[in-house]
């Protein structure tokens, strides 16, 4: 091979090298953007799951107040709650489909202070944790009176 050809091949190799470097830079940039979008989507999905779990608790027939099968919104029946807390703990696996890794507590603030823990399945291996507090009426059907309570839902998402 003469010198001119060697230079030509050298040039081609250099061009190819630069081309691949540019492709690699572009690829790294693309991966970074995709990664950040994925993280963002994951975060949004976690938030939606947390909201979904909170809504499911609020509409649970096991807890909701009703009169003549007509549901009262934003209300938990204290007698149902007393009954449900044991059953829901006993059937933790059954309720896992609905509440996943979360802990659900109801605290009465007025007239007296009281606390019920109805579900608790926690994990140390979580990527995000959300606490949702929902003010809720606590209806005591025996005395026909309403208390002021807070439904606290802590969701842990992997």
């Amino acid at each position: 091979m003469d010198k001119k050809s060697q230079i030509q091949i050298g040039e081609t190799i250099a061009v190819l090298f630069v081309f691949f470097i540019l492709v690699a830079i572009g690829f790294i940039f693309y991966v970074k953007v995709i990664q950040s979008n994925l993280e963002q989507e994951k975060d949004e999905a976690s938030q939606l799951r947390s909201v979904g779990i909170a809504q499911r608790v609020m509409f649970l027939p096991e807890l909701q107040c009703s009169e003549d099968n007509i549901i009262t919104d934003n209300c938990i029946d204290v007698l149902k709650l007393e009954s449900a807390k044991g059953i829901m703990k006993e059937k933790e696996l059954y309720y896992y489909d609905m509440f996943e890794y979360s802990s659900i507590n109801i605290t009465q603030i007025y007239p007296t202070e009281a606390k019920w823990s109805i579900y608790s399945k926690e994990t140390d291996d979580f990527s995000s944790k959300f606490v949702t507090n929902v003010p809720i009426s606590l209806f005591d059907p025996a005395g026909r009176k309403y208390g002021f309570g807070v439904l606290a839902i802590e969701t842990m998402l992997k």
């Binding site: 091979m1 003469d2 050809s5 030509q8 091949i9 081609t12 190819l16 081309f19 492709v23 690829f27 999905a45 939606l48 979904g52 809504q55 499911r56 509409f59 649970l60 027939p61 096991e62 009703s66 009169e67 003549d68 099968n69 549901i71 029946d77 007698l79 149902k80 007393e82 009954s83 449900a84 059953i87 059937k91 696996l93 059954y94 896992y96 489909d97 609905m98 059907p141 025996a142 005395g143 026909r144």
Partner: protein, 335 residues
């Protein structure tokens, strides 16, 4: 000299070929990987949407929705949803749907399962490409036609007639009253695969009744099994579910939920009866009567079968009367 020149030209070509192949290979790998990823991601996002529908079903009762999503084939089994290789298993899912949903438009409906108190919401899922044909002239047929969403591809015939083929991937016939399944002319439907043409024959009223499941067998109908329903929401479940197995799996799950909720109502009624504030004998009698019925429902909801459905239906009627009594005597209502 000539040989040297020829070698140079050949080498140049080999070099260009190798470099070109390397570039082509690189981009082919990237494209193939990206295609695979995009397909999995689409399947996962469709599955996520369905998961959200299943999760949201517990929140709203008596709702109907259409959901637009990427064109896909969703396979639904007992407690299982899968799209391609991506699937989700549930512990207990109450979702009545055909075994395969095709297309980009999903139709969802929810109805409360109340016997007599709400135990759960029943979720129904189907595609707009599936065709539902209701045949019958009794009140139940009219009621079911009204309950099914208008956005569904549905037809209502008062008498049995020849069914034309409209190129739907699934056809479901719902036959009411005394009409014999074999009196319905298959028409051009006999060209469709047997498993895609199914029917149910309903005998009963709004409260309870019997359902027979049929599947096309050539140009005739073959009976695949029988079951029962309790309440309208359960009958609607049989309309959407393709097979008797799928229907009974969902009903068993609904019964499990009813069992849990009944246990809670039992505990609540016992507390109400024993409460210091419940002094009036009429209230105590009402609660005792209600507890008898709740115990019956609790025992019968452990398993979905003919006898248990009968027991629950009777107990539900009685419990509903006790609830009215509670209201009449100004006692706290049972549910």
């Amino acid at each position: 000299m000539i040989n040297k020149k020829a070698f140079e030209i050949q080498f140049n070509w080999i070099f260009v070929l190798a470099a070109g192949a390397a570039i082509l290979l690189f981009f082919t790998i990237v494209v193939v990987k990206q295609k695979g990823l995009a397909e999995t991601s689409t399947k996962a996002s469709v599955l996520k949407s369905i998961e959200a529908i299943v999760a949201g079903a517990g929140v709203g009762t008596d709702t109907t929705n259409t959901i637009q999503m990427p064109d896909s084939a969703i396979e639904i089994g007992c407690n299982r949803i899968s799209i391609g290789g991506v699937s989700k298993q549930y512990q207990s899912m109450v979702m009545f749907a055909p075994d395969l949903i095709k297309g980009s438009k999903l139709v969802t409906q929810t109805l409360g399962f109340s016997v007599p108190y709400r135990a759960t919401n029943m979720l129904y899922l189907t595609g707009q490409q599936a065709r539902y044909i209701l045949i019958g002239d009794n009140n139940l047929a009219k009621e079911i036609n009204k309950t099914l969403p208008s956005i569904l591809t549905k037809e209502f015939h008062k008498t049995s007639s020849l069914i034309s083929n409209k190129n739907n991937y699934k056809v479901r016939l719902i036959i009411f009253g005394d009409i014999d399944a074999n009196s319905i002319g298959m028409g051009s439907l006999d060209k469709m695969p047997d498993s895609d043409v199914t029917a149910i024959k309903v005998n009963g009223d709004d409260q309870k009744g019997a359902i027979q499941f049929y599947q096309k067998d050539g140009s005739a109908w073959s009976l695949k099994g029988g079951s029962i329903y309790i309440g309208r929401s359960s009958l609607i479940g049989a309309v959407y579910a393709d097979t008797v197995e799928s229907y009974e799996c969902n009903m068993q799950n609904a019964f499990s939920r009813l069992n849990l909720v009944t246990k809670i109502y039992k505990g609540r009624t016992e507390v109400l009866r024993d409460s210091d504030l419940t002094e009036r004998p009429r209230c105590i009698d009402t609660y005792n009567g209600a507890l008898t019925q709740l115990n019956k429902i609790y025992a019968a909801s452990s398993n979905f079968n003919n006898i248990n459905v009968e027991t629950i239906s009777e107990a539900a009627k009685e419990l509903s009367n006790q609830n009215k009594n509670a209201q009449k005597y100004s006692c706290t209502m049972i549910y």
